[in-house]
């Protein structure tokens, strides 16, 4: 792979990653949100593969396979199962969709400005894309904060995790495999718990709007 080709492929993968993250905010139907999230997992895996090929590293290849298995297959499947009713939609997000998109743009800009010190530590093609990962963390947090349905919140949480993984991949940091596995397992458990929570909420309230839980305070 030539350097130009590597740069273009990397930028393409990062672009897809960012776009899918923004689309999470743009979609209203929960099934669509899960589809976009799946796409983001694929984009993250593509990003890892590009880096694996460039670095000629089998370890990164294995990581890419793991990312596909967890983020593009396992997690979306579990989310779909939690979403028993396909018509369940994000009816009234706390911040409406056009405003959310503007906020996503602002957050991306903030991420670019705030992560400059990280880029300057070791400038390279891969590290120049770090702001994408940081932006994804912020967008995920934003989704977590402003969406009402339990499933969209889980997706927000997973987008945060995707962003963290992307930063890890882009810094070419060799995170020990055990740590990586531990984090993946944590995420899996979190989703399991949230899935159970969502099911229980539907049984109790016939709805998965988290604002129904207001009474749970001192």
């Amino acid at each position: 792979m030539t350097d130009t080709g590597y740069t273009q492929l990397l930028d393409l993968a990062c672009g897809a990653f960012l776009l899918s993250g923004v689309l999470v905010l743009a979609r209203r139907g929960l099934a669509g949100v899960i589809r976009v999230f799946t796409a983001q997992g694929v984009a993250l895996a593509a990003l890892t593969i590009v880096i694996a090929v460039h670095e000629r590293s089998a370890e990164w290849g294995v990581a890419a396979v793991g990312i596909v298995a967890l983020r593009a297959v396992a997690l979306p499947m579990m989310l779909r199962r939690a979403l028993a009713d396909q018509r369940d939609a994000e009816a009234r997000p706390l911040v409406n969709i056009p405003a959310s998109l503007l906020a996503a743009a602002a957050l991306t800009l903030l991420a670019y400005v705030a992560s400059q010190p990280l880029v300057h530590l070791a400038p390279s093609t891969a590290t120049h894309a770090i702001p994408i990962g940081v932006a994804m963390v912020l967008i995920g947090l934003f989704a977590l904060t402003t969406r009402r349905r339990a499933v969209s919140q889980v997706v927000g949480f997973l987008v945060v995790d995707n962003g963290i993984t992307a930063v890890g991949v882009l810094t070419l940091a060799s995170v020990p495999l055990v740590v990586e596995l531990g984090i993946a397992l944590d995420v899996l458990f979190a989703v399991l718990v949230l899935q159970i929570l969502a099911t229980r909420m539907r049984e109790a309230f016939g709805d998965t709007d988290l604002d129904e839980l207001r009474e749970l305070r001192d």
Partner: protein, 672 residues
Amino acid sequence: MSPAGLSFVAALVGLGLAAVAGFALPGAARPAVVGALSAVSGCAALVAGVGALAGQAWSVSLPGVLPLSGLVFAIDPLGGMFVAVTGGVVAAAAVYGVGYTGHGLSGRLPQSVFPVFAAAMLLVPAAATVGALLVCWELMAVASLLLVVTEHRERPEVASAGRWYAVMTHLGFAAILAGLMLFAAAAPGDSFAALRAAAPGMTPGSRTVVFVLVLAGFASKAGIVPLHAWLPRAHPEAPSHVSALMSAAMVNLGIYGIIRVGFDLLGGGARGWWIAVLAVGAVSALYGILQAAVATDLKRLLAHSTTENMGLVLVGVGAAGIFATSGERVLAGLALVAALLHTVNHAAFKTLLFLAAGSVLRATGSRDLDALGGLRARMPATTLLFGVGALAASALPPGTAFVSEWLLLQALVHGLPASGAVTAIAMPLSVAVVALTAGLAVVTFVKAFGTGFLARPRSEAAARAAESPRGMVAGMVLAAGACGVLALAPTVVVSALGRATAIGRLAADPISGNAVTVRLGGVAGALSPLMLAVALLAGVIVVLGALRLLASRRARREARLWDCGAGPPTPRMEYTATSFAEPVQRVFDNVLRPEQDVEVTHADESRYLVAAIEYRRAVPDRVERRLYVPVLTALRAWGRAARGLADGSVHRYLGYGFGAVTVLLIVLAVTR
């Protein structure tokens, strides 16, 4: 390893075993095994401390225990003195604890935490890095807190006292943490040697900030006004042998911290610091003894007296600092020795008094002096031992406190010609404070002993009291023996303490003497407590003999006591603690501001006939009311307002986190 080090490690191992035994053994065997192991360990620690005072150095470095800095422990003469005092108190309290069971005191938690508390108190003066000091300090605070709340199921006051203690000890910890972190930031490492080397390079301003923070933290542990509010709550509510440990050993470590950081690590510093120390010490001494004089709760009285004694110690420490900054090394050494000796003496008699109070509490179930009385016939050993303690605590010869307060007065009086207008004002005032405190201490302990133990019982419980088991009496006898040695042969201790003052090149070893006489170096003064005691004893014998002789000249005649024709006097006519302290309360009315209420109910038939009179009196803590209540009210209002932030919406909580991250990033991006 030096002998001191060996016995120090042996003490820690013994306490570790005791903690395990307290957790693992079945209930019946627990108190005996834990008590025996802790007592042996206490003796080992005493030996270690005495060895360190004699000049045996010891240190150990454990780099792997704590990340980044590791732990380093070392005993020098100053630390050794506090190790020895703590060891002695632990030994007496542990022996006492063998017999002092019941009320859930032989449970798993108190029995296994007691040795941990003792070990933490031994490790604090041995710590040689900031990290080690802070870790041991926190361990000590948490262990003592667990012991304070032992009886929280029986009495609700215990839980409240525990809360006060928890909050105040952690605020103090935060102050110490901040101060020492600031200090360590200016040094290449966090070892005391590095801090000592870095102190001269710091600006005077930052040194003052460090000292003030550290002073606030350590003074709150020593129960110094105005940070004393927890002490009269927590010390009385703890089980009595724990009260003894807290009041006789733990408060000393506050003094240790002030001396260690102020004199040793910061190397003396400005005169203003020490004037502040002297001032808070003097205020604490007066305020503490005034509160003790009007207190009717026996253990609360002892706790207030702890504040008083720590105040006197700080008067000595402050005077030593003032002398050291004006170059009077001999006087500085004298004042510091007086302070340290008073610390040792206070540890001895406060252990004894708290243990005796525990014995009374166990026998009668009451700490209220107004409801006691007449224990002399039923608890002769406890009465005798409390009497010894009360004598030791009042600064009269041949009491224990007399020697150290005499030394303190000598230092202050000889400080008058020392340079400066400030000393010329501060020293006479301090002399007056020490003298007034000594007088009030006599009133306090005469009251405690006289109304608590003599005369006739004023309640059913006091009338049914029985002597405590042998283990408890043995613990008290140990403490009383220490009081006796310190009172009659203080030279044994004083010469060793002289070495402990040779820190920071500020104070010289000022006192010489043989086995009988304490002779001051540099200034004129000598005292022979043993001779004084012998002379007193001889005087008493002569007077009694003369009276007996005179009385035997006349024929003896049995007659009824004159009772104004109202029938034989009842116990209700006795002096109670309240009535005994009433004149003192009247004199200090403006300071104490007691709240009294007299309610007279007249008979239905005639206004001139009184059916009942009700009298209520309370002496609220004015410092607390003025200083703590407004702060607490403000905090409560703030907390209530903050409840509006938490309306139960998950999104709002998530939004707080998201907002905080975003704002932080924006601030970083803008300010970079």
